[in-house]
């Protein structure tokens, strides 16, 4: 296994990424998309680094990137996250030979994964874990209040901010939401994104038994119907993330198993059919249909 750090020039600035390749000839490729809130390409408790190593062990090359504004990409403009992330994935895709990469996304990584699928760029499948709950829109009056308060605070703090800017230079970008809630709302929340992804490429979702989102996903599976090419895998516990070592191990094991299965010859043929624009009509027999 070879792990290579790379710096990729994009329209928003330099993006830092890690390419992990297996020791033998790769049989597939994956892009690991971290969540947004303070996640880096190695992930909490290095869950993504472990995942990349595990994928390399089954012959899959992978790319994991720091989003603009975070980690090694701290000088890349956060406002250009969409273009820079897409260009980085494209950089990797060009090196993937004939096969398109699988996208593995945690939490808000769903958004760039959706953008890739929506734009019709080559994607073999999408695997998700720690699915974010769509933000509930508040009543209009309350929203107006919430907008007025930060504005007043901004005006109150303006003189001091100007003084700091003169003395110490421009402020560092805040390490908060790269994906604003408004983007979710504009896209209709997670459900609309999951629907479209499932309509275009194989979709796999990892949920935790005690996670309330898992029940939501089951209901969504009922609404999508059996023809959607998607499946839900449920593990025990309360969360499927890197917040504990068992949770990280669950994620690594389950994602590796899914990618390995997806890259079996029969599944690859089915994915190619889907990527050509049609709905999945034939998938390998051992896969469950529907999120439920």
């Amino acid at each position: 296994m070879d792990i290579l750090p790379v710096l990729i020039e994009t329209s928003g600035g330099v993006v830092g990424a890690m390419v992990t390749s297996p020791s033998g000839p790769p049989r597939g490729a994956a892009v690991i998309l971290p969540g947004a809130l303070g996640s880096t390409r190695s992930g909490l408790n290095q869950v993504f680094a472990r995942l990349a190593s595990s994928l390399a062990a089954v012959g899959v090359s992978s790319l994991r990137l720091d989003y603009p504004g975070s980690g090694e990409s701290h000088l890349c403009r956060m406002s250009s996250w969409e273009e820079s992330t897409a260009e980085t994935i494209e950089w990797f895709r060009r090196r993937c030979g004939e096969r398109n990469p699988v996208l593995v996304a945690e939490c808000a990584g769903l958004l760039p994964a959706y953008r890739e699928v929506h734009a019709g760029r080559g994607v073999s499948g999408v695997g998700l874990f720690l699915i974010p709950e769509p933000p509930a829109p508040g009543p209009a009056r309350r929203q107006r209040g919430w907008r007025a308060r930060p504005l007043a605070r901004w005006v109150w703090r303006l003189p001091r901010r100007l003084m700091f800017r003169v003395r110490y230079g421009p402020p560092d970008p805040r390490l908060v939401t790269i994906w604003p809630a408004s983007a979710y709302r504009a896209l209709g929340g997670s459900e609309a994104m999951l629907r479209e992804i499932a309509a275009r490429v194989p979709l796999w979702v990892l949920g935790a038994e005690a996670d309330p989102v898992t029940a939501e996903l089951r209901r969504l599976g009922d609404r999508l119907g059996p023809e959607a090419d998607c499946e839900l895998e449920v593990v025990g516990g309360t969360s499927t993330g890197g917040s504990s070592l068992p949770g990280a191990a669950d994620v690594v094991r389950a994602v590796t198993r899914w990618v390995d299965r997806l890259l079996q010859p029969a599944a690859v043929a089915a994915a190619a059919t889907v990527a050509d624009g049609g709905r999945a009509e034939a998938v390998s027999g051992d896969r469950r249909r529907g999120l439920g």
Partner: protein
């Protein structure tokens, strides 16, 4: 170039430069030179605030661990600084700040190298295993690797929070030109006890395992008793410029007489301006004054 033959997937040879630099023919400085100690990774020339600087990423081999390091350098650096970061989840929150400290060195005509501790971020190795002596050993090896990269310039150490302890203990053996400790946590036992206590009190998130705090393992080897006294003794005997840059709140314990204390108005928990720019500004100012940077 890699993976260009049909059907061939990524099989990246050691020494490959970044895709953008290779494709666009970006004039990379030191194109044929190794990145830090071993030749892997990317090397690009970047531009920030109208100044051009070299940026490299790569690995430094230290004992059983492979450590990830990031380098920022002016075209002809006049001095260098190795940035030793904080640890764990708190360290992740200061990651970009540490990058900007190294970049600030490049902006001032110097060179900055940021290394990641084993088991943290992109570095390989056990997260919970290392003890303080191992971290000091790593600090010295990174300093030596940086010196091999730019041998003619003086190299200093900048330790951030937990990294300050390592910088203080490694400064004399590593013959650092100057040492700056940023918001240091000189008593690691007290620090990790505080992390564990805060995690226990965080009833919203809870804590998955004993020995964990805020979703990360608390390294048992680092929070040993007596570290504070050892660091104070080491600081007192240092024969090179030593500065401590910290906020006025919380107040610090008394420091040895040879240590220059630079206090920034404000609080660590509620930094003025929303980030820690003043700390970075003062730390770079101290290094400039003591190592002859611009």
């Amino acid at each position: 170039m890699v993976g260009t033959r049909p059907g061939e997937m990524l099989s990246v040879p050691a020494g490959m430069r970044s895709g953008a630099a290779a494709e666009a023919g970006t004039p990379a400085l030191h194109r044929g030179d190794p990145v830090l100690e071993t030749a892997t990774g990317g090397s690009v020339v970047c531009r920030s605030r109208g100044r051009e600087y070299l940026r490299e990423v790569g690995w430094i081999h230290s004992g059983p661990d492979r450590l990830y390091a990031s380098l920022y350098a002016a075209r002809t650096p006049a001095a260098g600084v190795v940035v030793l970061p904080h640890w764990g989840r708190d360290g992740r929150l200061l990651l970009e700040w540490c990058h900007r400290l190294a970049l600030g060195a490049a902006h001032r005509g110097g060179c900055g190298v940021l290394v990641q501790w084993p088991g943290n971020e992109d570095s390989e190795g056990g997260g919970g295993a290392p003890d303080l002596d191992r971290l000091v050993e790593i600090g010295l090896e990174v300093l030596a690797a940086s010196r091999r990269r730019f041998p003619t310039i003086p190299w200093s150490l900048a330790g951030v929070r937990l990294g300050a302890v390592v910088a203080a203990l490694a400064a004399d053996s590593g013959d650092a030109a100057a040492v700056v400790l940023v918001q240091p946590e000189l008593d690691l036992q007290a620090y990790f006890d505080q992390v564990a206590r805060a995690a226990r009190l965080n009833l919203v998130r809870g804590d998955p395992h004993p020995g964990w705090g805020f979703r990360a393992e608390i390294p048992a080897g680092l929070g040993q008793p007596g570290v504070g006294a050892r660091v104070h003794a080491a600081l007192g005997t240092l024969s090179r410029p030593v500065g401590v840059v910290r906020y006025a709140v919380p107040p610090s314990d008394p420091l040895p007489g040879n240590v220059l204390e630079v206090t920034v108005p404000g609080s660590w928990l509620r930094p003025p301006g929303g980030d820690h720019r003043p700390l970075r500004h003062r730390a770079l100012g101290f290094l400039s004054a003591s190592s002859g940077w611009r």
